[in-house]
Every structure is written in C-alpha cells, then in structure tokens.
C-alpha cells in the first residue's frame, strides 16, 4: 500500500505548490489525479517518485519511507525521454543492467513483443513515431516490474486516436502484473476510462478537493450513458474546485463549460 501523509511542498521562492495532501492507495489500484493548472499534481507525482523531496509529510510504500527514487516505483513522463544513443531494445533494458545478459535479453524481447514493437528492436529512437516512442517508454518503465507506476500526463502530446489506443494498451499491460497506477492527467475522458478512483485537486495552494469512485466494470464503453454520468460528475467537481458557479439546468452551459484548465 502507498500512503501519503500530509505531503506538502513549498518551493524555495515561497510558492506553496502542495499542502497537506493525504491519501491511501491500495496495491493494484488505478488512480487518476486531475485538476486545474498549478494544483500541484506534478509536484505530488515527483514527490512519490522520489525525484523531489516533500517539504513536510511522508510518502511510504509498504511501510518504507520514500525520499529518493526507489526500485519498486517506476515513472513515465509526458515525453518519452528515450536515450537517443541506445537502440529501442537497449532503452527498454536500461533498468535491467544488473541482470545477466541472457535474462535481460529475454525480458526485453518479451516486453517488445508485448508493446507490439518486436520489429523495431534495433531501431534508433529517432526512427519512431510519437506513439511508438511512448510505448517504448511504457515498456522501459514496466520491465523491471515496479509495484507502483507513476504517469505524468503520458498521452497528452499524442493525437486523439493514438491516445485512445495507448489507454487501452496500458490497461492491457497493467493486467499482467497489476501494479498500482497513479496517473496525472487533464483529460476527463482518460481519467474515467482508466481509473478506479479520481482524485480532484484544487489550486493555490494545491490540495485534495474531492474523490470520485468510478464504479464501472471493465472493459469500459466510452459511449455508454453511465460513462457519461461519471464524466459529468468529474467535470462538475472540477468546476466546483475552481469556485465556478454553474447554472444547473441550462443545457448550453453544462458542467465543464467553465474553462477549468
């Protein structure tokens, strides 16, 4: 279990990015964190990843405090961040340097197969499309089998079609080992498709505002009325998090019309 206990972050210039954020996340749960800009969602993710230290409060994974990058926690960034001087296969195997070469090769080959890029093993990163590169990044993060996988707006730079495809693909990969997923996003659709629970944050200073359980079976149908209902409730919560007053029964001014981002 991942426990966040009153995590706060104040930057040296005095900006309070995150204030007393607490949450308990079960092993294998998929969490989406959503909120307006400046609500500290990336700050929170970096604290969990151990890339930045929280000013106060603690992040603990299975009782172990996290203060620096941890073997059980993987992260996928908004950009693929592949190492351009390594082939696709070597990029995926980057976190497996300690393993014997044969075992590493086998794992990499399996991962390549799993993300559908077996034919690209020896390609350079520059030869990949944006979606393919992000697949490699996902494989690289998953191949050491982390217990927690953090995703910082991983699909936001992709076109709508590729994004959908990768969302489904991510769920499929998740089913293999069921790590905890914590996904920062600004895409309500994405949050409702993927998450068991959506955490809505509110800005200035960044803090937890609301939690919405998405009680939908999987696979989820993006066009079902129930899906639409959950989307509306997330959007309504976002609007409230920004103190936007939304006229309730006005069809043209439904929730989400406020420019919450």
């Amino acid at each position: 279990m991942l426990a966040l206990d009153r995590v706060s972050k104040t930057y040296p210039n005095g900006v309070e990015a995150l204030t007393r954020f607490s949450a308990e996340i079960r092993q294998g749960e998929i969490i989406a964190i959503i909120g307006g800009s400046g609500c500290g969602k990336s700050t929170l993710l970096r604290a969990i990843a151990g890339l930045d230290r929280a000013s106060s409060g603690t992040v603990t994974l299975d009782g172990e405090a996290i203060a620096s990058p941890h073997a059980k926690i993987g992260i996928i960034f908004q950009e693929p961040r592949l190492l351009p001087w390594l082939s696709v296969a070597d990029n995926i195997g980057f976190g497996l340097a300690e393993l014997p070469a044969a075992e590493r090769r086998a794992k990499v080959a399996r991962a390549l197969d799993r993300v559908g890029l077996a034919d690209k093993a020896q390609a350079w990163p520059r030869e990949l499309s944006g979606g393919q590169a992000q697949r490699v990044a996902i494989a690289r993060a998953l191949v050491p089998q982390p217990e927690v996988l953090l995703l910082d707006e991983p699909f936001s730079a992709l076109d709508a079609f590729t994004r959908r495809d990768l969302q489904d693909h991510l769920l499929d990969l998740w089913a293999d080992t069921r790590p905890t997923l914590i996904l920062v996003t600004h895409d309500v659709d994405e949050a409702v498709v993927l998450a068991d629970r959506v955490l809505v944050m509110r800005p200035r200073p960044g803090r937890l505002f609301d939690q919405i359980e998405i009680n939908l079976g999987r696979p989820r149908d993006r066009n079902s009325p129930l899906f639409e209902t959950f989307k509306r409730s997330v959007l309504a919560s976002l609007d409230r998090s920004l103190d936007r007053r939304v006229p309730d029964r006005d069809a043209t001014q439904g929730p989400g019309q406020a420019m919450w981002w």
Partner: protein, 281 residues
C-alpha cells in the same frame, strides 16, 4: 479491447529512408567539391603554358608538383612532414588531455567551475602567440616550447567544448538516470558520456585545426626542420614553388587528420538525429 495492431501497421517507417544513396550521387558529391580547385589549377597551368604569364611568383601546379616530388626523392619531405606531425601530435595530445580533464571537472562540479573557470577564461583572452617569448625563455628554443604553444592552442577549444557540453546535457535525460537510481559513476558512464560525445568530437576537430595553425607559428619562429621551416626557407630563398608545396601539404595533412577523427567517431554517433545527417543520406 486491445487495439494496438492497426495503428502500428499504419505508422510508416522512417527508418526506410536511410537506404543507400544511388551510385551516381555517391561519387558525384566528392567530385563536385573538386570541381572548383581543379578548374582553377588547370586554368592557371594553361595561362602559364601559353606564355601569358611567366609564373615566377605564382608557379603553376606542375612546378609545385615537381618541387614536391623533388623534395620527396631527396628524403627531405619525409623529414619535414614527420617533424611537423610529431609536434602537432604531441601538442594535440597534451592539449586534449588537459582540456578534457579540466573541462570535465568544471562542467561536473559547480564549485570547481566557480574556482577555475574565471582564470581559464582570462587566460583564453590572451592571444596565444603572446606566450611565445615567455615559452622560449622558460622552455628553450627547441621542441618543448613549440609543443607547449600547440598544446595551449588546442587546450581552450577542448576545455570549452567539454564544459559546455556537460552543462547543456538535457536535465530530463539525467532525470531518467535518477529514476533508475544510477550512482555518480554509472550516471557519468551511461548518461553523461554518450550525451556529450557529439559536442566533444566537434571540439576535438576545432582543437586540431588550431593545433595546425600553431605549429606553423611555432616553426616560423625558429626551426631547422618541419613544414613551417619549408615556408620560411622558401620565402628567404625566393622559392614560391616551395612555399606553395608546403601549403598544399598542410592542406592535405590537415584535412586527413580531421577526417581521421571524424572516421573514428562515426561508429559512436550513428544515433544522431541532426539536420546535417538528414541531408547527407
């Protein structure tokens, strides 16, 4: 639910455009570069041959070539070339080692940079030839002062190149190394070294160019052998063909050594995704 296959096939393969260039363009490209100098040389040869000019001050290519073969036959040429190559080689070696070490230290530790860099930058502002009298007083007029001068010339571009390359390594890539918990040494080996390599090769090539420049300066000041000595000797004895011969050999050696660096680095830089590369394929 899993719909990865269709997209995958749909996306085209940019790798495919890296096919070998056609045979014509492969030979035509270097030939294109030779067109201008060959035309000029041939033109001047014709002018002298038809008697429009006696070619005394600007000897035609045939006379320059004859001088080179004559020097080669007497064994003089090998002696001069090896003397110059030896000086450039040693000076370049010392300059590269010092520049790489200090540049890496200054790039990696900000404390060292604050301590070291202002002094190095101040020294860099001194025109390097200003060191000549001092080096001669300190190190004598023989080989040591010459090699020191060349090393100074090579040092600065290498130092600047290495330091600048380390400072400009993408923070995002370094962060990837951090998430995989790379220690200081592993971070240098697996992230920093490959990341700075392209800029390092460029700084080596700039350094080598300066090394060739400074060897001439050093040999003009006082030497009994070397290509620079050939230049000076040709001036004093009024032999323009010999001067031109030395210049041509400088050009060939400079280009050749530069090409060697490029060749040695090429296998390590195949991954680069750069403007120049795209145009070459």
């Amino acid at each position: 639910m899993i719909s990865d296959a269709p997209v995958l096939q749909q996306s085209s393969e940019p790798a495919e455009n890296a096919v070998a260039p056609s045979r014509l363009s492969r030979y035509a490209r270097p030939a294109l570069g030779l067109l201008l100098p060959l035309t000029l040389a041939l033109g001047w040869e014709l002018v002298v041959w038809s008697g429009w000019s006696n070619g005394r001050l600007v000897p035609p290519p045939s006379r320059v070539f004859a001088t080179i073969t004559e020097l080669a036959r007497s064994g003089e040429l090998v002696r001069h070339i090896s003397a110059t190559l030896w000086r450039v080689g040693l000076g370049f070696g010392f300059g590269v080692v010092a520049g790489t070490l200090l540049g890496a230290i200054s790039g990696y530790w900000s404390l060292a940079r604050r301590l070291l860099d202002p002094t190095v930058q101040a020294l860099r502002a001194i025109p390097s030839l200003a060191w000549v009298p001092l080096f001669i007083l300190w190190l004598g007029i023989f080989e040591t002062s010459k090699i020191a001068l060349i090393a100074v010339g090579v040092f600065f571009p290498v130092y600047l190149g290495v330091m600048g390359a380390i400072l400009s390594v993408d923070r995002k890539i370094v962060e990837v190394g951090r998430t995989f918990r790379l220690s200081g040494f592993a971070m240098i080996r697996r992230i920093l070294l490959p990341a700075v390599l392209p800029a390092y090769v460029v700084s080596l090539r700039v350094g080598l160019g300066l090394g060739w420049m400074f060897v001439v300066a050093a040999e003009l000041i006082g030497a009994s052998e070397g290509l620079g000595y050939l230049l000076l000797d040709g001036q004093q004895l009024g032999k323009p063909a010999q001067i031109l011969a030395a210049i041509v050999i400088f050009a060939i050696l400079g280009k050749l050594t530069d090409w060697l660096i490029e060749l040695a680095a090429a296998p390590f830089l195949r991954w680069q995704d750069a403007f120049g590369r795209a145009k070459e394929t």
